[in-house]
Amino acid sequence: MMAVTLAQAINHALVDAMEADPRVLVLGEDVGRLGGVFRVTDGLLSKFGEQRCIDTPLAESGIIGASVGLAMAGWRPVPEIQFDGFAYPAFEQIVSHVAKFANRSRGTVRLPMTIRIPFGGGIGAIEHHSESPETYWAHTSGLKVFVPATPDDAYSMMREAIVADDPVIFLEPKRRYWTKADVELPVSTAPARQALVRRDGSTVTVFAYGPMVKTALDAAAVADDHGWSLQVVDLRSLSPLDVDTIVSSVQQTGRAIVVHEASRTLGMGAEIAALIQEHAFYALEAPVLRVTGFDTPYPPARLENFWLPGVDRILDAVQQVLTY
């Protein structure tokens, strides 16, 4: 057992995946000599050489488009997009090709790519470095979207993403990069498609993923003092969603809230609320409430904590669903 941060866990996963399969390579801006702006690819260049850890020109569509070609040539690319807000230049390659190639080609051309994107706010960054773009990806058929919340999951889900023949958008909760846990690596947690109950509880279910899982657990601890028993479910995969676990949790508690940093309108909370009322209509004692970032662009650093969902906003929602 050793204490590893979430960032280190991903680094280990990359190393182990590259050792296990000589076709795995990473590419992106500053992934090589620098080891990535978050050091997630640290050491890969010296360990695996210039061909398997490629510092690319500054061009995101280029990174993803070239990865499509590399995948067709039999490689298993793990491109990095440096920050959430910089995946947008690659949107066409991701949505029109990465997501659609397998279907277009009747399964003949599979693109086993894992697109790594550090995402989310809370680190006091300047604009475009704190986006939560998961809706864009999860709405796009043909992509899988994995979001780990803990170091062990970060390791295990990354290994799973890399061996998967489906393209995966791997969203790394950057404000939890430095979260430590005692983990024995390699570790294999549940498959990503399975949501996990992180804390049992009977009064209200709180659905969260990535950076908000810790926030939800913090809220649950405080809620105890109010006599509210929160069940915290970590979604882990946003596409596919584990509808069974979601529904069965609500069938136990009868009340649910969804927490995410992304803006409310058409955020994951919308989909989860829609699914719950569809599949557990009679179990619901109150509407599913959404505890989210506001429907404005991400705020400047000094205001982000007013914007981001925190323990208080969660407890407020808990109170609301309880007084229904």
């Binding site: 210039e50 061909q51 020109p57 488009g65 070609g69 066409e92 277009r104 009747r106």
Partner: protein, 368 residues
Amino acid sequence: MHRPVRDPSELLPPGEPVQLLQPDGVLREHPEFAPVSDPQLLRSMLRHMVVTRQVDQEAINLQRQGQLAVYASCRGQEAAQVGSALALADGDWIFPSYREIGAAITRGIDPTGLMHMYRGTWLADHDPYAERFGLMTIPIATQVLHATGFAMGTAMDGKDVVTVAYFGDGATSEGDAHEAMTFAGVFNAPVVFFVQNNQWAISVPVERQTAAPSLAHKAVGYGIVGRRCDGNDVLATYAVMSEAVERARSGGGPTLIEAMTYRMESHTTSDDANRYRGEDEVAAAAARDPIDRFQAFLARSGVIDDEFAASVAGEAAARSQQVRDAVYDAPHGDPTELFDHVYVDPNGHFAGQREQLARELAAGGGGV
């Protein structure tokens, strides 16, 4: 993976596009390039061009009869496509746009699969690995990056593969074309960027795409070699492409080739080119027809005779008929196939949606 910075004079295209065969079918001396003389190869050039033209015409007919959703003709571009594709070895790869029926036919690909894309039977219908011919690509210039990445990949494997990206004059304006040539230059990828400058991007003339002296001049900005050829001259296209392929194969890096040609038909069958271009221009281009000039040259030089011409005509008719037979009223597949390929490991709710579709089908719903 890298190479030293080159002298710009090596990279810039020489003044005039390379031409070896004049529009009147007479050979022309060139200081650098010579026409191929192997009669076998010359005949096969003609054969592919003639077959292409007829299959292309058949596709237009099929579209008019409601059999294809749309079709993008390559009429007038046969020399560019056939000449370039013939310069490739069997193991080399092509990443096409949507107009490369001629290149496909040259590579021996059954055009039926490509026609199914235009019919809308499925989104694509050939095996790229078996044919070493990528899926036809509609989002402009995106395939240029795939070609570059693919070439980077084969080079790392030490494979003897040259990759060619086909794209249009309009496509050179897209960011993806730029990023692809940037990557290719930096990583010295064994790739050829083959631009068919057919003068038009739908209704927009090439002068509206760039103020550059020529599209080939863009090469110097990527540290790669730029070349131009008369794309209606199959001999020149073959010669210039062969040089580029050889450069890539021997580790000399990418080349950008601008083949000067002309789109004789409307952009696609949905378009009406009369709205934006004059008949004079089209007539002038017709006088530079790639097949007429080559046929005249071959006949005069005795490489072909009437018998050969007849056999080619027969083959063209037969291939067109095959396409027609395969496509005409071709049934679509089982619609539930829509759920089969999206993921290896499908999302959970696919099961429910597939059942819903199956129920609707059982009730006789939907369908064109």
